[in-house]
């Protein structure tokens, strides 16, 4: 199993009047087809670590490699390009663009990447939504969908450019138990059936226990005793 994401002493400190340490000396490696949970109490730096791994934030120090490539020297354009092609995001709140339909939301990353033609993009968006049980809702806007449906559209969008890694920040945090189970099963199927690597921040320890690995953070550091 080859390593997809690797960090060495990754640290993020907010340069406030009194500096706030979000993540400190995190070293980890995550391979292909892994289903990884990042757990920990509130304020432990789970989401901050996820944003660092997703190139949405820059570390204060340490090394982050994605698919073997050091991300430190990357400029804003290269980071954006890596996010576009290699990483997919699912947030706690669906974060869909409200004026666009489900299909258009899924199409946007593909149109930005410009790897496929317009017809192929439309077909792939419809196919992804159908595969997540949203075949009848592709032309609905987010405000016409339920919470679970929106989150599934967000998952479909994260898969649009067929990224190697899906980063999910509390993907079931705002859903009822039925929708949570549905979304969790989808994420698991992405690993088992589509060969993706899924890294999910979660508070739900039962859910975390069903995943391949747990990385537990306490005060921004990995609690190796509670991690697997």
């Amino acid at each position: 199993m080859s390593v997809l994401i690797e960090t060495e002493k990754l640290t993020r400190i907010l340069p406030e009047t009194v500096p706030v340490t979000l993540v400190r000396d995190v070293s980890l490696s995550i391979g292909e087809k892994e289903f990884v949970a990042i757990t920990g109490p509130s304020g432990s730096g789970k989401s901050s670590l996820l944003y660092l791994l997703g190139l949405l934030d820059r570390p204060t120090s340490g090394i982050l490699r994605i698919a073997g490539r050091d991300t430190e020297p990357m400029n804003e354009q290269e980071r954006a390009a890596t996010r576009l092609s290699t990483l997919g995001f699912v947030f706690q709140f669906h974060f869909l663009l409200p004026e666009f339909t489900a299909r258009e939301n899924v199409e946007i990353p593909m149109r930005r990447l410009r790897r496929l033609g317009r017809a192929e993009i439309r077909a792939r968006a419809a196919e992804l939504l159908a595969s997540l049980g949203l075949g009848e809702h592709i032309d609905k806007r987010p405000d016409q969908l339920s919470g679970g449906q929106r989150q599934r559209v967000a998952v479909a969008r994260s898969l649009a450019n067929d990224p190697a890694v899906i980063l999910a920040d509390e993907p079931t945090g705002s859903l009822d138990s039925h929708s949570s189970e549905q979304v969790f099963n989808i994420l698991e199927s992405l690993v088992r059936e589509r060969g993706k690597t899924v890294i999910a921040v979660t508070h739900d320890l039962d859910m975390a226990a069903r995943m391949d690995r747990q990385i537990r953070l306490v005060d921004g550091k990995i609690d190796y005793g509670m991690s697997s």
């Binding site: 989401s47 901050s48 944003y51 997703g54 949405l56 934030d57 804003e76 354009q77 954006a80 390009a81 890596t82 996010r83 576009l84 092609s85 995001f89 947030f91 706690q92 709140f93 974060f95 869909l96 663009l97 409200p98 004026e99 666009f100 946007i108 990353p109 149109r111 930005r112 990447l113 969008r157 450019n161 920040d169 509390e170």
Partner: protein, 413 residues
């Protein structure tokens, strides 16, 4: 780019009322700018046109800018001379035949020589002071629009010869004389001559209508006892813009003061420049206010769209994409406002052109608002609106593009 265009279009169409207000704000600014420019430019053009049409482009008189040097000053260059009384020069342009022949050889236009003498016009027991102007009628018609101002008779009646005169209608009224009556002209030399009124003109300029009378040049020369004399040459050029250079050449060659219409109206033209500065300042201020409107709206949109910006950046959009997106929205508002404003400006300008006035009491007549239809007004107003919109869109766009998506995502969670 197509994707950015589509997202911008969706943002715009998704905020119909807000965008309509923004577009109307720009449109009103552009429309009023165009109408105001058309009106002010129209007034100015009309004023200059009347000035250029009614005045000679170059007026050569028998005056000199500096007194002629006395022979003693030339002979005794190093000696101080005082107490000399300049010799009395005979008034009038010396050797008029040579002067006019020389002008004929190179002036790009027409000219007319005349002799203006001060005198009195009498009819019955009434007298009116007048400038009695002796002209060659055919040449005069080529340099003066007076032929168009006749209310009775015509200027051409002078061509027939004889003791004929044309006078201003106000003068005739003051004299109590009418068309066909015989009046008496008395020159400052005390000579008198009877003339038959063969035309009455009304130029709209009070001083001319009550104080000018035209006779044949020969008659004026006889009346003022100055055979073959002329004291004024008025030149009408094919291109009025050449007047200063023509005046300079004529003055240096003939020695007499030659005044171009621009020099004669220097203070008026300076006032027009100031008027233009005021006009463009006001127009600029209107557009600036419209620009603030656009800035306000785009700024509000970017603020409201902060979450979308974070989402799009997390999806792999670059900062340049975000800048382009909101810049495009600003320019789209500016373009729509410019297009609508141009139509509004066109309609307002047309409406202004329909307004008519009748102001004859002051001696000045203006029958309608002078309007200039110029594509340049539309181009300038639209370009200014687009530029304002671009700047107003760019500033919040730059700020939006620089937002850290993590800050927004955390704030939204």
């Amino acid at each position: 780019m197509r994707l950015i265009f589509d997202i911008a279009a969706t943002h715009i169409t998704g905020r119909g009322r807000q965008m309509l207000v923004a577009v109307l704000g720009v449109a009103v600014g552009v429309g009023f700018s165009i109408a105001m420019a058309a009106l002010m430019q129209g007034g100015q053009d009309d004023f200059v046109r009347q000035m250029v049409d009614t005045m000679p482009h170059v007026d050569i008189s028998d005056e000199r800018r500096t007194p002629r040097r006395q022979p003693a000053e030339d002979v005794f260059a190093t000696a101080a001379i005082s107490g000399l009384r300049p010799r009395d020069d005979r008034r009038g342009i010396i050797n008029p035949t040579a002067a006019t022949a020389w002008l004929e050889s190179w002036v790009p236009g027409r000219f007319a020589a005349s002799l203006k003498a001060q005198g009195v016009i009498r009819y019955a027991s009434r007298e009116v002071g007048a400038a009695i102007i002796g002209v060659d009628p055919e040449r005069e018609l080529a340099v003066s629009p007076i032929a168009e101002d006749f209310v009775e008779g015509s200027f051409a009646a002078l061509i027939a010869g004889g003791n004929n005169i044309v006078v201003g209608d106000t003068m005739a009224t003051r004299l109590g004389a009418g068309f066909g009556d015989t009046i008496t002209a008395v020159s400052s030399e005390g000579l008198t001559r009877n003339f038959k009124i063969v035309g009455l003109f009304h130029t709209g300029t009070t001083a001319r209508d009550e104080g000018e009378a035209y006779v044949l040049l020969k008659n004026a020369q006889i009346l003022s006892a100055r055979p073959n004399a002329i004291n004024e040459i008025r030149i009408k050029l094919d291109d009025p813009g050449l007047a200063p250079s023509v005046a300079r050449r004529a003055e240096s060659e003939l020695g007499y003061e030659a005044v171009a219409w621009q020099e004669a109206n220097e203070s008026i033209l300076e006032a027009l420049v100031i008027r233009n500065v005021i006009m463009y300042t006001v127009v600029g201020a209107i557009m600036l206010v419209a620009g603030f409107g656009i800035y306000n709206i785009i700024s509000t949109i970017t603020h409201e769209k902060a979450r979308d910006i974070a989402i799009m950046k997390s999806l792999g959009f670059r900062e340049a994409d975000m800048r382009g997106l909101f810049l495009l929205e600003g320019v789209a508002i500016g373009a729509a406002g410019s297009a609508l404003g141009s139509l509004l400006g066109l309609a307002m300008t047309y409406a202004l052109s329909l307004i008519r006035f009748e102001i004859a009491a002051t001696g000045q007549e203006m029958t309608h608002l002078p309007i200039t239809w110029s594509l340049l007004h539309y181009v300038i107003a639209s370009a200014f609106a687009l530029s304002s919109a671009a700047v107003a869109g760019y500033l919040p766009a730059r700020r939006a593009a620089g937002l850290n998506p993590v800050d927004i995502i955390r704030g939204a969670s």
